[in-house]
Symmetry: D2
Subunit: 145 residues, 4 copies
């Protein structure tokens, strides 16, 4: 089945509200910019706490961005289920992010199966074309779905 054949079950406002409710610790760091079938764009609003010495966004902050973006695109397609969990991720860290800029992640679902969802994420510093990091993530979808 192709992206074009699938419909979004939650829109930007619904997804943002669900994230704020389910993950209040991190939701304030992210802003959902765009939702389309099988893809989302998410911004990490970079603050002091996301930085490593030298002013670079830390690896764990990039990991969280990828994870949140993939979670949101999955929710967009399967509806509000809090229980999907990351089972695998692979990450290539390619370049230092540009200091003092937000990170913008584009996540797309490549497969939405019955028990597994697989996607990838690329992230760039705002207003920059270079890819800072690339990730592949797999989510396990709980059977009660």
């Amino acid at each position: 089945m192709n992206a074009a054949e699938r419909m979004v079950l939650m829109d930007k406002e619904e997804l943002s509200a669900f994230l704020a409710e389910t993950f209040p610790q991190v939701a304030g760091d992210f802003r959902l910019e765009h939702v389309a079938p099988m893809s989302v764009v998410v911004r990490l609003m970079v603050r002091e706490k996301h930085l490593r010495p030298g002013g670079t966004v830390s690896g764990p902050s990039m990991f969280t961005l990828a994870d949140v973006a993939m979670y949101l695109v999955l929710l967009a397609m399967i509806g509000p289920k809090g229980l999907a969990v990351t089972t695998n991720c692979s990450f290539d860290f390619l370049r230092k992010p540009v200091a003092g800029r937000d990170l913008i992640a584009e996540a797309r679902l490549l497969k939405l199966g019955r028990v597994l969802a697989v996607g990838d994420v690329v992230m760039r510093s705002e207003h920059d074309t270079n890819i800072v990091a690339r990730a592949g993530l797999t989510y396990s979808i709980p059977p009660e779905r």
Copy 2:
């Protein structure tokens, strides 16, 4: 540096000839379809030997396709060096390929550094939009470069 700023150092004919010379065991299974800055399209001409029981293209055949495609896009950008080696790959196998069809891989270089080159590959059965597998690969570039 962006894709647009880089020039291809080897064209389709030169790359195909170099592959045939360097990897004669496998070169006959592949056809380079397209070369552009930082990206290539490569076809696996699927034969009996690439199949698993049930007529599906085997995992090792898909691995080889991804590896060859990434090698070719790297050569296209750095010129004819036989010594670059794969240091890491991550693979998501998403769907069974369509039986009886060639596999088409699109490889792009995401980073071309001094010692490391990183890229990703998506592959589809010919005339099909679904992604069969996605891979991320890292190549180590020998220092004599």
Copy 3:
């Protein structure tokens, strides 16, 4: 649940026979050396066809070795099911294998769940302590189980 709590459902002879029957194209290249709860040791009997220029075992041959070893340890624990499929693998290629030697892979299951099995593999050239490659693999177990 721990390795010690699980019992092997197929022994070395049964696993070898099942592999020969199910994957006749590749079974002759491998020899199952040892089976224990949640782990196996498998040998790739290196021949001309597994080599790259320079006499090194090729990446696809190492991929196949890891995949076969993980398949066998999974079968050992769940019994003769032909339908488990690899959904993800990540590979680190660390060193050139020693020329002219068999490759020995140790595979262990780290998780045997209802729908997913996850394990890792390390491989060495025979009579050498250095790790040549390390892989993590995930298999999807068909629901009819």
Copy 4:
């Protein structure tokens, strides 16, 4: 070269002091338990901030633990260099950690090359034998070394 042939260049106290100085934001969350040639054991002292809803340690916290553990084993072998950076990681999340327990990570270097260091990490909840997560990480070592 084997683990036994290499000597540790920094001991537990030196590594702990270097971490506290270089990464003051996170150093307080971790305790280096053991250092040996090519391997370390690191504890994440789990607190409220590391948890997801339900009381489970979050993915980003596990990522940070793996990254810190690999950084420390690398430093132990190459001495106090602040500039090594993670270039790749692959992560399998296998089970929920046991609620209310610290996470214990064992990291080992599988290859310590001139420009790349590769290792893996397994983590368990304290006093539990089950593996919670497994990771492979690659660090790039700066040339000035």
